[in-house]
Symmetry: C2
Subunit: 432 residues, 2 copies
C-alpha cells in the first residue's frame, strides 16, 4: 500500500461531469489499496471570472482581498469533489489551505511555502478517509490571513503535501499525456517520454515547456518527491520525473515501455516565442559598463535570460550588447535604459520582438561530445540563421527568427532521433 498525492487542474474539474470522472479515478486508486491525498484547482475558468469581477468593482485590487476572493474557487471544487466521492460510497474530507497546514509567508498573490503541518490530513488518512486539499492557497501565521501561491500554485501544493506526508509519488494530472520531446503543436512527431530527470525537466520548463511549473519541479527535486505527470483523460502511465537516486517503482516500471530504460542523450526540444531581444548599441568598451546596464535592467524588474557581447571594434572603442527577456518586461526595461543613456554613454537601443528561442536539453550532454555540432548542422542545412547562443551543462539554446522557430524545432527533433512513429495527438489548455 502506497500513499499517493494527486493533483487535478482546472480543466480536469471544469464541470459536474468532469468532477465525477475525477472522483472515479480517485476512488479507483483507493480501491487499489492506496491512501490518497488530492490537491485540486478551481473549476475551469473560475479564476478568470473572479478576476474579471474584481476588475469590475475596483481597477486595482487590494492584494489581501484578492487572495480571499481567488481562494474561494478551490473551496468550491474541493467540496464538490468530496461530495462526488461520498456518493460513490467512500469517505472523503476536504480541507482549505489553512486547515491543511499550508503555512506561507505574507506575500499576497505570490506567497512562498515556509512550513507544511498536515496534522489534520494525517488524522483523516488514519481514519481511512480520502483527503481533498484546496490547491493554490495557504495561510500566514502572523497576519492570520489567507494567501495564494501564484502561478502554478496547485502543482506546488501537491508537491509540498507529497513531501510533508512522505508520499510515494505525486501524480500531476492535466489534459496532456505527460512530458513530450517537444510541444506536439509545433513538432507533430513529438514523443511522450516515459521518464525524465528533474534537472532536464527544469531546463525544459525554464525554456518554454508548459506542462509542469518550474517551482513545483524545484520543490520536488529539493525534497526528493517523485512526480508523475499524466492525463486525466487517458489511462496511460504518463511521465515520471526522477530526482537524484530515484528509480521508478517496480510495479510501475513493468508497464513502462522498454525504450524508456535506455538513456537518451537528448531528452527534448523546447521552444519559446515569449522572449524579446534588446540590443544596446555603442557601449563604451571599458570595464563596468555591462554591470551598469544590467543593474539598470534588473532594477526595472526584468528577468534577463541570454546575454551576448560582440567583439569590440578596436577603431571606435565601442561594442554592442544584446540580451533577451520576456516580451512583457521589454517596455519597462527600455524606458529604464533610456533614462540612463547619458550616464552609461551608449549610442542607441534596438528592440526586436520577432525572435524565437530553441533549446535542446539532455543530461547525456555531460558525457557525450558532438551534441552541439548536430544542432548547428541541422539548422544550417535547413537554412535557419542563428542569432545568439547560450549553453548550460545540459542545455544548448539558440535564438532564431520567430518565423523560423517551428521549422527549426522539427529539423532538430529529427536530427537527434527523437521523432516518434506516429503524430502525437494535440491537446490544448493548461490548469493553474
Amino acid at each position: 500500500m502506497a500513499l499517493i498525492v494527486q493533483k487535478y487542474g482546472g480543466s480536469s474539474v471544469a464541470d459536474a461531469e468532469s468532477i465525477k470522472r475525477v472522483a472515479k479515478r480517485i476512488v479507483d486508486t483507493r480501491r487499489a489499496g492506496h491512501d490518497v491525498v488530492v490537491a485540486v484547482s478551481a473549476m475551469g475558468d473560475t479564476t478568470d471570472e473572479l478576476l474579471d469581477l474584481a476588475h469590475q468593482v475596483a481597477p486595482i485590487s487590494a492584494p489581501r482581498e484578492l487572495d480571499m476572493l481567488l481562494s474561494s474557487g478551490e473551496r468550491i471544487s474541493m467540496a464538490l469533489l468530496a461530495m462526488a466521492i461520498h456518493s460513490m460510497g467512500f469517505e472523503a474530507r476536504s480541507f482549505t489551505g489553512s486547515q491543511a497546514g499550508m503555512i506561507t509567508d505574507a506575500t499576497h498573490g505570490a506567497a512562498r511555502i515556509v512550513d507544511v503541518t498536515p496534522v489534520r490530513l494525517r488524522e483523516a488518512l488514519d481514519e481511512g478517509a480520502i483527503v481533498i486539499v484546496a490547491g493554490f492557497q495557504g495561510f500566514n501565521r502572523d497576519t492570520r490571513d489567507i494567501t495564494t501561491l501564484g502561478r502554478g500554485g496547485s502543482d506546488t501544493t501537491a508537491v509540498a503535501l507529497a513531501a510533508a506526508l512522505d508520499a510515494d509519488v505525486c501524480e500531476i494530472y492535466s489534459d496532456v499525456d505527460g512530458i513530450f520531446t517537444a510541444d506536439p503543436r509545433v513538432v507533430p512527431k513529438a514523443r511522450k517520454l516515459d521518464v525524465i530527470t528533474s534537472e532536464e525537466m527544469l531546463e525544459l520548463a525554464a525554456n518554454g515547456a508548459k506542462v509542469l511549473y518550474i517551482r513545483a519541479v524545484e520543490y520536488a527535486r529539493r525534497h526528493g518527491v517523485m512526480i508523475n505527470a499524466r492525463s486525466t483523460f487517458s489511462s496511460g502511465q504518463g511521465t515520471f520525473v526522477l530526482g537524484a537516486g530515484m528509480t521508478v517503482p517496480a510495479a510501475m516500471a513493468a508497464t513502462l515501455e522498454e525504450s524508456a530504460m535506455e538513456e537518451p542523450i537528448v531528452a527534448g526540444v523546447a521552444t519559446d516565442l515569449g522572449q524579446a531581444k534588446i540590443t544596446v548599441i555603442g557601449v563604451p568598451d571599458v570595464p563596468g559598463k555591462a554591470a551598469e546596464i544590467f543593474t539598470v535592467v534588473a532594477k526595472s524588474g526584468a528577468n534577463v535570460d541570454m546575454i551576448v557581447q560582440n567583439v569590440s571594434a578596436a577603431a571606435t572603442g565601442r561594442t554592442d550588447i544584446s540580451f533577451t527577456l520576456p516580451k512583457s518586461d521589454a517596455a519597462t526595461a527600455l524606458r529604464a535604459l533610456a533614462a540612463e543613456q547619458a550616464h552609461i554613454g551608449f549610442e542607441s537601443l534596438v528592440h526586436d520582438d520577432q525572435i524565437g528561442k530553441l533549446s535542446v536539453v539532455g543530461a547525456g550532454m555531460r558525457t557525450h561530445s558532438g551534441v552541439s555540432a548536430t544542432l548547428f548542422e541541422a539548422l544550417a542545412t535547413s537554412g535557419v540563421n542563428i542569432e545568439m547562443i547560450s549553453t548550460s551543462e545540459i542545455r544548448i539554446s539558440v535564438v532564431v527568427r520567430g518565423d523560423d522557430l517551428a521549422q527549426a524545432a522539427r529539423v532538430v527533433h529529427t536530427a537527434y532521433g527523437l521523432d516518434g512513429e506516429v503524430d502525437a495527438i494535440v491537446h490544448a489548455g493548461t490548469g493553474r
Copy 2:
C-alpha cells in the same frame, strides 16, 4: 460617533454595479463619522447555483462538504465589497465566519451560534478599517470545521455581531423599504411602519411576513439589539424594531414621521398561503386521544400551528380535530396518522391545502378591547367565512379559504385604519 452593523442580502450585491452601490453606502456611513461592520450574503443566485452543482455531482450531499461549498459564496461577495471600498480610498478588511469569531455548534446546515469572539474585528476597527464579515457562516471549535447557519443566516450573523460588539444599531438592508402594515403585493394600500416592537415583529414574521427572519429578531430581542430594516435602493429611514426599553436615537427620531410616535393598536396584518389543514374525523371522545394524535404528528417532524376541536356529538361519543401545518409537512403527517389509525381509533382523515391564514398583530391588543370584534365584523360584511380561530396575547389569527385571503386582508387592513394614502410600491425577491 456610533458603531453601526449593516447587513446586505444577496439581491443587494447581485453584480459588480450593485456591489459598488453598496460600497458607496458603507463609505457614506463611515464619512458620517461612524464605525462600520458589514455582514454580507452571497451574490444574487450564487447559493442556488452552488446547490445545483452539488446536486449534479451527488444526489445527497455530505453535510460537512455542503457547508464548505456554500460558505464560499460569501467569501466572494465580501472580498469584492472590500475591494470596492478600497478603491474609494477607505481601508476595508474582510473576515470569514471563523476569522470573525462566529463560533457555532457542529450542526452542519443549521448551526446555532454558541459564542461570538470578534477579537480581530475590534483590532481592525481600532485601526480605522471598515470591517466586512461573511454572513451565514461559522466555525465549530471541536471539529474545527466550517458550518452554515441555515435560512436567514446572514441576518443572524449581523445581529450576533451587533450584540457582541455592543453596536448602536443593526441595519438590515434588503430590496424593500422596511416593515409594512401588510404585504404590499396583497394589500396595495399597505403603509411602511416607522417603528414596530420586537414582539409584534416576531408575531408578524411567525405568521407569514417575510422581511426579517424570526431567528434574527429573537436574537436581537434577547440581546437588546436594535434592528433597523431598510432598503438598499432608497434613502428612507426604514423601520426600527424596538425591544423592551429601547427608544429610537434622537438623531434618527428627528427624521421619522410624527405619526410613528403614536401607539397604534394594530401594527399590521400578515397573510400566509403556505399552510394546509388536516382534519381527523370521528376521534373517540375519551381523555388522551388528542395527545396521541399530536404525538404521532410531532414524531413525523411536522410543526403544528393552529388546533381546533369540535364540540363532541353526545350521541356518537366521537369528535373531530382539525389542525394546520406547513404544506410541505402535510404528506408526512398524513402517512404517520394513517399508520396509527387502528390504534388511535379515528374514522378518517381529510386533507385541505386550499386554506389561507390571516393574522392581525398589535401590542395594543393587551390594553384595548373590541379588537377581535372589528376583525370578525369586517370579514362578515365582506362575506368571508372563518374556519378556524386562534389568538395570542397580541395576535388574532383566522383561517379562511385561500381564494378569499387577499380580499380579507384588504378589508381588515381598512377596518383597522391602517390604509396609507397612496399605493405602496411593490418590490420582489429576498436575500438569505
